[in-house]
Each structure stands twice: as C-alpha cells, then as structure tokens.
Amino acid sequence: MANNTNSANKPVDFKKKHSKEEMKQQVITFALMIMFTLVAFGLVLAEVTSFFVIPILIILAIVQVLFQLYYFMHMKNKGHSMVSVMMFGGISIGILTIITFTTIIWW
C-alpha cells in the first residue's frame, strides 16, 4: 500500500487557502464556545436568581450548539440543505417532546 500522505497536490492551493480560512473561523468559534461555557458556569456559581439565569443558560447552550452545527460540522457550507431540513425536523420534534414532558406529565 502506497502512502498517500504527501502525494503532490499542486492544483489545490486555492482550496488550501480556503481551508485555512475556515480553520481560522473554527478556532474563533472554539474560543467563543469556551467563553460561553465560562459565563454559564460563572452565572451559576455567582448564584444569580434562578428566574433570571435559566433562560440565559438555555440561550447560551443553544448558541453553542448552533456553533457546533454550523462551524464544526459545516452545516453552513454548500450541499447541506437536505441536512438542515432533517436536523431542524429532528430538533422541532425534540422541542415538542420536551415541552410536553415539562408541561403535561404532571398536572
């Protein structure tokens, strides 16, 4: 088996650059995610009133997850339209499920 690791790939310079660009975005994403996590933990440790904190926590989580999906998992890229349809399908059903379970399990 030949080792492909360093085979000549001349024509892909442009693409390489593109990947680099993307990589930069991903690192920024990562930094933001770490920041959000810190904020979230910080808020809880600071014992802000729960009425206030919980929505913020949830929003922070959602933003983080969107970062993961769009940047780390490339959902922002071309060729992901069907992917988006499916993921959002799953997400909306998931949300519906969770709403149910927090409202009409006990009454």
């Binding site: 069907m82 499916m86 399908g89 799953g90 059903i93 519906l96 499920t97 149910t100 379970f101 409202t103 009409i104 399990i105 006990w106 009454w107």
Partner: protein, 621 residues
C-alpha cells in the same frame, strides 16, 4: 462472495443466496414472504379473538390467554405484518421508480430485514416459552412494567430489535431517494409512491427513536430495577403513554402513506390519466406527515391532560382531515373523465375510497376530545382503526400486490381468482367492523375478554364474527391465487398494464442491475411521455458502460443472529445470572461481525460492458 456460489444450482445454494443477498428485489421478496406469514398468524389470532367473542360469557379461551391474543394480534399486525409489507413494496418499487440500479446502502438494507425478522421471531417465541405479552400492543405502564412472567420482556426485546431494523431501513430509503435519482428525475417528477415512501421514511426516522427510548425505560424497569414507572419511588406512568404515542401516532401514518402512494399510481394507471392535482397530492402527503407529529395526545384524552391540552390536540387532529380530503377528491377526479379498467388492483382501490372515508370520518369524530370520553377504549375505536387499517392499509396491500406482482415475479396474478378473493373479504370486512361502531356506543369496552348477557351485545358480536370468517375465506383465496399463479400462469411482458412510470420500462422481473443504461427522465410519468412520442422505451442518459454492483454478505444475518441470541440472554438473566452468558455470546457475534465489516475493504464488483451486450450479466438468474 454470493455471486460465485449462487452459480451453483440447488436448494442449498438458493438458500445461501437469499441469506447473503443485498439485492433490493430479493430483499423485497424476503419482506413479502415473512410479512405475509406474520399476517396469516395475526389473522389467526384475530379469528381466535372473534370466536371467543361470538357469544356472551364464553370461555373458548381463558382471560389471560385472551389478553395475550389481542396483544400479539395488534403487535404482530402492526410491526410484523404491515411494516415489512410496506418495506416489501418500497424495496420492490422505489429504486425502479427513480431509475436507480440499487438502494443507497444495500448492506444495511439486508441488515434491516434480518433485524426485523430476528425481532419478530423473538416476539413469537414467547408463545412457546411461558406466555406471550399481555398488556396490549400499547403496553401501558405500570401494567406492562409489573406484568408477571416474561411475556412483556419478549415484547420489549422483540420490538427493540425489529425497531432498529426499521430505522435502518428508513434511513436507507431517505438517502436512496435523495441521492440516487436518475438524471431528470427531479423531486416534482417523482411518482407518488416514491414521494410517500420518502415521507414515510422521514416519519420512521423521527418517530422510532421515541419508541426506542420508551422500550429502554420499560426494559430497565423490568430487568434492571429502575423506577421510571414505579410511583412508589417517584416514577410516572404517563411518561410511557406519551413516548408510546409520540411514536404511535406517526406510526399509523407510516402505515397509510405508502399505500396512499400506491393508490395514486394505480388510479392513474388504470384510469389512463395523469394524476389529478399532482403538486397538491405531494403537498398533502408532506402535510399529513408533518401534522402527524402534533396530534399524538388524541390517544390520551381520558388520561387527564386537562381541557387546554385536550382542546389543542383535538383541533390539530381535525386539521389532518383537510390534506386527507384533498387526496380523496384528487383520486376521484383522477378517475373523472378517464377510462377506468376494472382490474383486481383497481377493484381493491375502488373499494378503498368509501371504506377509508368512513374510517377517516370516525377518526374525526374521535378527535372531538369531549366526545372521546364516550368513545375511548370502546369498540367504536376498534371499528375506527380497522376501517382505516384494513380498509386502507390491507386493501392497499392487496391492490399494490396485484399491481406490482408482474414486476416482482414476472406473472400477473390470476384476475378471476383476484376478484373471487375480493368479494368475501370486502363483504366480510364491513360485516365485521361496521357493527362494532354500534357495539362500542352501546357500552362495550375494547379488550374485553367476554361480555355479560342482557347488555344487548350478543347479536352484534355474532355478526361481527361471521364477517371475520368471510375475511378469512377471502385471504385464503388470495393465498391460493399466489400459488396458482406461480404454477399455472404464463410470463408476461415488462409492461402488462400500459404503465406510466419507470419501473414498467424494464423487463419483468428486472435484471439484478435494474437498468442496463440509466434512463433520462423528461417529465412526470416518464414512460408515458416516451410512449406518447411513439417510442417504446426510455432514452438512456448514458452510454453503455460497466455497472458497479455491491457484494453479497452473510454478515447482516450474523449480526441479527447475535442479537437474537443476546435477546434471550437479556430476558432470562432476570431469573438467573448464568443467562448473561448468552448476552455475551450474542453481542460477541454481533460486534465481531461489525468489526469484520469495518476492517474489510468491500468495494463490490463490476458487471462489464461486454457481458451486458451479450444480453445481460448472467451472474444470477
């Protein structure tokens, strides 16, 4: 691996061929046969139910056995008969309708089938190993969580395994339909059966995980001492109801949508007309699928969710009548102005319209939340769902089988026998179930082992049982027809019905690579378009070239076998930890096979151009 062996003739080789096949057409046959057998078993259970209820205070079967009977009847019919029959149709037809040589994941396709079969066999083993599940097909906790014996364990494990198979099958068809369409086959040119399969696969993808979770919770409660449904430790039985119905309601649309699709194709073909309102039909299919996820709590109106939740779910349920109505009227207007050929397939389809309409309308009546306080868990509900399931799904299977039989097996099912089977089944069906609406309203709850004299229920139940016997006769005639056709009927051409869609442009049964050259699709009803232009077949979209085919594999069978063995281990480890050995052996086989699969390069093989020119790659046939 299979190709080399399959060339050797003989029974052994044939069996080996089916055990290792990844050809969607053969998998369709496997689904058809096993689904058909399970339908007969489920039907036999239905007959025992009806015999027990023929007269008041009867003890033809005991109370405990009766509960096992209804549970297994419901579970078998839904999961082991209707689901595989749907997959049989999808496998047989979808790739052909979109001009594909294969499905996206041939290996997973066969894995899906074997998992389903393993699950179904486990479930039915319960009859011989100490008793079947007895908590209803809905398995409401805590009855199911506390039911003695191993019956419900079989339910949990069997459904978990076959459910995994279904999920795999669903994903396979999603990707197949998205990625494998022939050039020119845009979404808005796909035949409705393919559209319906697409939406159904979506429903499978999003609905089955809820069941998976529910089954896990029940399994943990029964086998590992958790407390999800144990109110003593803070558990909550309503969780099961929600999880089951979040799955269960979409499930009924999973069943009905593909046959809606089949009916669309049949009405159009046998009226020699383009489908009326194609885009509205597509839209309605998608909308039904979408709304199907927002209505589940209509099964729980009497659970006590409160008037707000009940009202919301009532109204959203009623909304489904609108897209379904669009479909009914579009079918009627497809026939309007057409040239209706009354073949057996068409006969079943024609019978479907009024039957299903009645079933749908009783559905809307059930959806009136408050009124459901009277209907719920009575024979009115039983009547409703048999009208939609038998009158919709089963009629649909009969229609679709008559329609696609020549494509699957190269022979047209005998028309005389086809009609002979129809009449007793149709009449028997209405005899059995129409009267049940009234039985329910007159105060007969469902899942009743017996009823007391003097409640005015005797005559109705007797009529119902007589009807069931007629249905059995109809079914048996159909089975006879299958055998008769296989022995006596002659081979037909690839296009016996003057078809309109791609599957009729290739020989019957199709060669294992389906299309020698991928066809070029120029519009809706592509074959019809070509015929109108005076051509006999499709214009190819590519020159003749090598065809890439996947290798057969024994691994799917092995993986399922492993889970089959492990399933028994899980069930019996409650009694004695020694049974855990089976879990390890079984999981070992499964994981070992998975590892083998991922370690080996499996690139498939090519059918060469030269072979194709000679009249088509005689690897098989």
């Amino acid at each position: 691996m299979s190709t080399a062996l399959a060339q050797k003739r003989g029974l052994g080789a044939a069996i080996w061929d089916y055990l290792t096949t990844v050809d969607h057409k053969k998998i369709a046959q496997l689904y058809l046969v096993s689904g058909g057998i399970f339908f007969l078993i489920g039907g036999l259970e239905a007959m025992l139910i009806r015999i027990q209820l023929m007269q008041p205070n009867s003890d033809f079967i005991s109370a405990g056995l009766y509960n096992e009977m209804i549970t297994m009847h419901g579970t078998t019919m839904i999961f082991l008969a209707a689901m595989p029959l749907i997959f049989a149709l999808m496998n047989a037809v979808v790739p052909l309708q979109i001009g594909a040589r294969d499905v996206a994941f041939p290996f997973l396709n066969s894995l899906g089938f074997w998992l389903f079969l393993a699950g179904g066999l486990i479930l039915n083993c319960s009859w011989f190993l100490g008793g079947a599940p007895d908590a209803g097909w809905t398995a409401y906790a805590p009855l199911s969580a506390t039911s003695p014996g191993h019956g419900v364990d079989y339910y949990v494990i069997g459904l978990q395994i076959s459910g995994a198979g279904t999920l795999i099958g669903g994903i396979n068809f999603l990707v197949t339909i998205v990625n494998m369409r022939a050039p020119g086959m845009s979404y808005m040119r796909m035949p409705l059966f393919t559209w319906a399969s697409f939406v159904t696969s979506n429903l499978i993808l999003f609905a089955f995980p809820a069941l998976t979770v529910g089954l896990f919770l029940l399994m943990f409660d029964r086998m590992f001492g958790s407390a999800f449904f144990d109110v003593g430790l803070g558990g909550n039985a309503i969780i099961w109801e929600h999880l089951f119905w979040i799955f269960g309601h979409p499930e009924v649309y999973i069943l009905i949508l593909p046959v809606f699709g089949a009916f669309s194709d049949i009405f159009s073909t046998f009226s020699t007309k383009r489908l009326f309102g194609y885009s509205a039909m597509v839209f309605a299919t998608v909308l039904i699928g979408f709304l199907g996820f927002m209505v589940w709590a209509h099964h729980m109106f009497t659970t006590g969710l409160g008037p707000v939740a009940n009202s919301i779910f009532a109204v959203s349920t009623m909304a489904i009548a609108v897209p379904t109505g669009i479909k009914i009227f579009n079918w009627l207007f497809t026939m309007w102005g057409g040239k209706i050929r009354m073949t057996s397939a068409m006969l079943w389809s024609i019978a479907f319209i009024p039957t299903f309409t009645i079933g749908g309308m009783t559905g809307v009546m059930l959806a009136a939340a408050a009124a459901d306080y009277q209907y719920h868990d009575t024979y009115f509900v039983v009547a409703h769902f048999h009208y939609v399931i038998v009158g919709g799904v089963v009629f649909g299977f009969f229609a679709a089988l008559h329609y696609w039989w020549p494509k699957m097996f190269g022979k047209v099912l005998n028309e005389k026998l086809g009609k002979l089977a129809f009449w007793p089944f149709f009449i028997g069906f209405h005899l059995t179930f129409f009267i049940q609406h009234f039985l329910g309203l007159m105060g007969m709850p469902r899942r009743y082992w017996t009823y007391q004299e003097g409640q005015g229920l005797d005559l109705g139940n007797l009529i119902s049982t007589v009807g069931a016997f007629l249905m059995a006769i109809g079914t048996l005639i159909f089975v006879y027809n299958v055998i008769y056709t296989a022995m006596k009927e002659k081979k037909v051409s690839g296009d016996p019905w003057d078809g309109r869609t791609l599957e009729w442009s290739i020989p019957s049964p199709p060669p294992f690579y389906n299309f020698k050259q991928t066809p070029l699709v120029r519009g809706l009803d592509p074959l019809w378009i070509e015929k109108q232009d005076g051509k006999t077949g499709m214009t190819p979209a590519e020159p003749l070239g090598d065809i890439h085919m996947p290798n057969g594999s024994f691994l799917p069978f092995l993986m399922s076998l492993g889970l089959f063995i492990a399933g028994f281990g899980f069930i019996y480890q409650v009694d004695h930890k020694g049974w855990l050995a089976l879990v390890f052996i079984g999981m070992g086989i499964t994981l070992g096979s998975m590892l083998t699969r991922s370690l080996k390069d499996d690139l498939g093989y090519h059918v060469h151009k030269e072979e194709l020119e000679e009249g088509g790659g005689n690897h098989e046939s």
